[in-house]
Amino acid sequence: MSLVRNPFKTATLTIIWGWLILLVLAPTLLVVLVSLMPESTGQLNFSDLSPAVLWQGFLSNYGQLISPVYIGVFGHSLWIGLITTVICLVLGYPFAWMISRASPRLQPLLLLLVIIPFWTNSLIRIYALRTLIATRGLLNDVLMSLGLIDAPLRLLYTEEAVIVGLVYMLLPFMILPLYAVFEQLSRATLEAARDLGANGAASFRHIVLPLTMPGIIAGVLLVFLPAMGMFYVSDLLGGSRHPLIGNIIKGQFLEANNWSFGSAISVMLTMIMAFLLLAYYRSVKLFKREATL
């Protein structure tokens, strides 16, 4: 049956395209446009959008980014994002592997357990985490009553608390794409490898890792960028002492009322991510070419 004649497919495609154009493409273009407009603390002026005006806006908005403050925040956010991503990968990879190897009857249940936290609003989960790790919180109470510590640990409002919060929020985004690739990994290839004399490490390196790479990349992308943007995690668990790039964007929009600069930072973040992706694809291509030679 051809695509054109299937009304269900047509409707689905229409909805998806309509959705992408209306809610992804249009807002993104609007953000890019606003990032090129001259700075204003009042209403944005859409009446004069000549190239000269936009060029001026581009120079001043993106020029501001090159300051020690923002470079520092970018660096710090990248670092926090990197740590979060690595922890999620280290925890999520074996976890996804184990789910995919569990009995078929158990698998839906395990996946459900991964997804259940999504049923609760993320802010509520962060608040719950706060009550757990507060100075007079449950964790300290338990440790004190067990005699493991004498004085309560100061866990809340630290960088570590922010990382714990980010990992907790983002771990399912690492597990789910990894599970998807593990599930398709055929046992036959692994058995073949063993028959041909590969030990565990070798078959992991040459078979499992390359075959699950798409899942790793998808998971890393889904964790890395949000980790740099989740301003409320840094606000609520870190006491907003070490702002992430998301906090700066929020501040420009809500406090400084400077939408142009806020948009410029946001576009910059997207560009960095695009650049990283591009670098990845290039390196894969190069790697493949070398492998075939």
Partner: protein
């Protein structure tokens, strides 16, 4: 699967979808215009969320026969942006901006001049709360609810009298023990007041001096609080810090020991006010509603419901003695006079923002 024409091509479908979405937007637009009739028996009110009990509105409707159409916002910025988009076909009649938006909006011609003589209950308002820096002579605004931000501390860890000035917060003994709010203007207000400057300064040198003073406070700051300030006190995270009086009152009600100090340089005052937009259509009804809201009984009821302080002295008289005489809720005359309301800082806002980011990032 016959409910959709099987011959419809993807492109046609796409056009249909876009057309459908556009059409639904247009319907929304015309619907809101249909509501906007010009009968005198309606009043369009735009207030903060959860800032007025339903019964107060219902009683007004019963008494006057005016239909109150009530919408809410959750930030001054959102209210301001919405108001700029509305023309006289769909405008609001009564809005509730905070002090620093009153002077901004009045300057931009978004507000009507008020005729205070139409408000019989205006005379009951605390003289300390009218004719203030953000709106001299109450030309544009009438007080609705107000409060203050001062120093709160846990009496288990801090001696009485130890904290009497903003400058005391800089003491080394509070290392890693202080709470500040995550509000740029409030935090700068503390430092500016400690240096003897106005919390509303637009002078870049004074803002810079405040920033430099704040960098010395940073080792004491455990967190910049983003939600209810009483929670970190309850959870034992901090011993002292910047807090709103309403939060202290609520903490005490919940049995959490927090004492409140009015620092000698003056507290930070905030107020939400009532104002009539310049393109309002039901001005007389707006005056009626305003006068009703500042009447003693009603203002007392709202104050008890939302937990902030009434500006009406007549309403204060009606309150229980333990509330009326609680210095956390009602500051003394002298404390009130020393306090300063936030006003709009206009073009200085980006300067504040720049130093705020530098402060947070330590660079």
């Amino acid at each position: 699967m016959q409910f959709l024409s099987s011959r419809i091509a993807p492109r046609t479908a796409l056009v249909t979808a876009v057309a459908a979405v556009t059409a639904s937007f247009m319907t929304l637009g015309s619907a809101s215009q249909a509501i906007a009739d010009d009968s005198d028996k309606v009043l369009y009110v735009y207030n903060w969320t959860e800032y007025m009990p339903d019964e107060v509105i219902e009683r007004f409707e019963e008494k006057t026969g005016i239909d109150v159409i009530y919408s809410t916002f959750d930030s001054n910025e959102a209210m301001y942006a919405k108001l700029k988009l509305l023309d006289s076909n769909n405008s609001y009649d009564l809005i509730f901006p905070s002090t620093y938006y009153i002077d901004k909006m009045a300057r931009e011609g978004l507000l009507q001049k008020l005729d205070i003589s139409k408000l019989g209950n205006f005379k009951d308002l605390d003289p300390n709360l009218v004719d203030r820096e953000f709106d001299k002579g109450n030309q544009y605004s009438v007080p609705y609810m107000w409060g203050s931000a001062g120093i709160g501390y846990n009496p288990d860890y801090v001696e009485t009298g130890e904290l009497s000035s903003w400058n005391d917060l800089w003491n080394d003994k509070y290392r890693d023990k202080l709470l500040l709010s995550n509000d740029m203007r409030e935090v700068f207000h503390v430092a500016l007041a400690s240096l003897g400057f106005s919390g509303n300064t637009t002078n870049p040198d004074e803002i810079k001096a405040a920033y430099e003073k704040l960098t010395q406070l940073m080792p004491n700051v455990r967190a910049f609080n983003s939600d209810a300030a009483r929670v970190p006190f309850m959870q034992g995270e901090v011993d002292a810090g910047l807090i709103w009086n309403g939060e202290v009152y609520q903490a005490n009600e919940e049995g959490v020991p927090v004492d409140y100090v009015y620092p000698k340089e003056g507290i930070i005052l905030w107020m939400d006010t009532m104002a009539i937009p310049s393109n309002a259509r039901h001005v007389e009804a707006a005056y009626q509603f305003m006068n009703y809201l500042i009447s003693p009984e009603v203002s007392k009821e709202i104050s008890e419901y939302v937990g902030y302080t009434t500006p009406s002295l007549a309403a204060k008289k009606l309150m229980a003695p333990e509330v009326r005489d609680n210095p956390v809720v009602f500051p003394t005359q002298a404390d009130l006079e020393r306090g300063e309301f936030q006003t709009d800082v206009g073009d200085a806002l980006p300067i504040y923002q720049k130093y705020w980011e530098k402060l947070k990032t330590g660079r």
